[in-house]
Symmetry: C2
């Protein structure tokens, strides 16, 4: 099933978490599952916290990228368009919150399920719940904002100001 | 300067973010800087978000591990002991919050500065601010809890219950 990240424009498809063009990345992929969203990631053996458990930063990464991916999915659906149609909708993270509810066992796929909490044209809030073996291990909230086109030009101060103003 | 992670016991020193025994890890190292703490991490070229900027999940990882490291530093100091003395104090993350204030330029060291916000024997809250080129790029809060010794035994349900109760 195609993921929204499959349709990110090439020049914004290098994200370490979810960019299909990042050879070293995690390749997180977000799709619809009814009215919610889903992404599945199997941690590598070296993604350990303490032996037997998944590193919290990896769980945060899964929540982060599935949050921005879910935001893009929701924005396309709200616009009555499919990912891949123009103009492309690419969201970035304004804030991220993760509650680690249980130690997350390593060696099995993690399933991140997303729920759209708030949907505005330039801001989407999602709640992401991470399951291992069908047990909830972590829950997060991602505030994602539509990427200003100028961000592609480089880290200039006026772009930062625009991000802060969102 | 020795970091607190240099003294984590071998069996809890494999964290992908800060474990000295994880060959594939980030090797985040936390030290005192007066009454605050500091950790420095230079992202790799593949740790990109969109080209030119650092991946938010890596920034979350830096805040996460410097938060638990700062918690351990503070707990040792409160106990009047140095890291490396017994018993070892190892904290894990209960919750993590990150506000991405500006796009973070890639290719330069990120400096994470920690401030101890709350200090209890089994719970330490830290505020971590991440700078690039002396500009604040992200700010986070980490709630860290002292690791139950039983966690080393494996992901059993009673251990999860203990974590949830903290």
């Amino acid at each position: 099933m195609p993921a929204v990240q499959d349709f990110y424009p090439d020049d914004v498809a290098h994200c370490y978490g979810c960019g299909r063009l990042n050879d070293r990345g995690l390749h997180i992929r977000s799709t619809w599952d009814g009215d919610n969203t889903v992404a599945i990631l199997t941690p590598q053996p070296y993604h350990t916290a303490i032996p037997g458990y998944v590193y919290g930063g990896l769980i945060a990464s899964l929540i982060d990228c599935h949050g921005t991916g879910s935001a893009a999915l929701a924005a396309y659906r709200a616009a009555g368009r499919e990912p891949g149609t123009a103009p492309a909708l690419r969201f970035v993270t304004a804030s991220l919150k993760v509650d680690y509810l249980r130690p997350t066992p390593i060696g099995i796929p993690l399933v991140a399920r997303g729920r759209i909490v708030e949907l505005k044209p330039r801001k989407v809030v999602t709640e992401i719940t991470v399951f291992a073996n069908n047990e909830v291990c972590a829950r997060g909230e991602v505030v994602a904002v539509l990427m200003p086109e100028k961000m592609l030009a480089g880290p200039k101060s006026e772009i930062r100001d625009e991000i802060r103003d969102i």
